[in-house]
Amino acid sequence: MTVLVFTLLVFAGSLSAGLLGALTGLGGAVVLVPLLTLVFHVDIRYAIGASLISVIATSSGAAAAYVREGYSSVRIGMFLEVATTLGAVLGAFLATKVPTRALAMIFGGVLIYSAVLTWRSNRSLHLEAAIDNPSSDALKLSGSYPGPDGQQIEYKVDRIPQGFAMMFGAGTLSGLLGIGSGAVKVLAMDRIMRIPFKVSTTTSNFMIGVTAAASAGIYLRRGYVDPGLAAPVMLGVLSGAVIGAKVLTRARVSVLRTVFSYVVLALGIEMIVNGWLGRI
């Protein structure tokens, strides 16, 4: 394949990945790495390098839109970024030590888990919401967000040490595989720390960019980021995510989400099989 054809195909593939990722809420990187390794036969280290760069771009690009809605919490984000960035440094360090076939298999496991998560009900109901946890106020994590009638709804944050620990894990996964691991971040905030869903998703978006930046330096020094590959991937995923965010409000995504989750599941199995057979 010539550079021109390769660049155009990778751009088109990345655009689709970014678009589907934005529409289904699963993120673009999760299908990007399997696409690059399984379809384009790119070494997984180049693939996760390019993917990590695209993660920074989409997270930062979407931030302005999320902020306007007024859900995200800069304090919760900054507090938990201490955990995610430390985890990301560990993850990026591990990525340079773990054999590539093991990386592929771990990636496959994450894909399968993401697929399973989409089948479960996405919103927890927060039946025990607004628990009075004194640490929430002490750490200034309590906040409020705009409700449907324009009134401010107060919330508190619970189980802070457990959430913090899970965030460390999310960061490690992000640094290890070059993904945003937004699903794990939302899980930690929404399910463990009982932060309202909207606050969790928007704050998670902010955190993804900072987390990815924490492993980027290590990736660059290890030579994982090749400009010829990273450029079309970054521009493609970013364009896809921007288009996805524009049509999201109009599109019916539930069917798409179900179809996409099966694609993710299949890719996960294929990553594990290929990793096991040593073809990655």
């Binding site: 036969h41 970024e81 980021v225 400009p227």
Partner: protein, 125 residues
């Protein structure tokens, strides 16, 4: 700097900062990619085998003496570095904004995040 003394305003300013960084970085990457393609469109590509790419800002003399191909890659690299700097700038912004709010706890937390970022960007192996 009174306009920063409010969390939601701080966040809005951060959103603008992030978008600005991304637009600037993508423009550089796009320009670099166009030059890159002009130079080697018909060459064969192979990312099947990993060979660590030596990423880094080149010295000015090296850029002037270098071939068009090296310069195209250097423009993409500059764009990528700009992109990585964007969320870092957001954390720097948070340090300043929390310091202005006289919020010692969150100034310290932001500095901790910044320290991890700086460590990994400059010293991590």
């Amino acid at each position: 700097m009174r306009f920063l003394l409010d969390d939601s305003r701080m966040e809005r300013a951060m959103g603008v900062l992030l978008r600005f960084g991304v637009v600037l970085a993508s423009t550089a990457v796009l320009a670099g990619m166009v030059f890159y393609l002009q130079d080697r469109a018909s060459q064969l590509v192979d990312y099947r085998y990993f060979k660590a790419y030596s990423f880094g800002l080149r010295h000015r003399d090296e850029l002037l003496a270098g071939s068009a191909r090296d310069n195209a890659a250097a423009i993409i690299e500059a764009g990528i570095l700009l992109l990585i700097a964007t969320p870092v700038a957001r954390v720097v912004f948070a340090v300043v904004a929390f310091a202005l709010e006289r919020d010692r706890l969150y100034t310290a937390i932001s500095i901790a995040v910044l320290a991890v970022l700086v460590f990994s960007l400059f010293h991590g192996t």
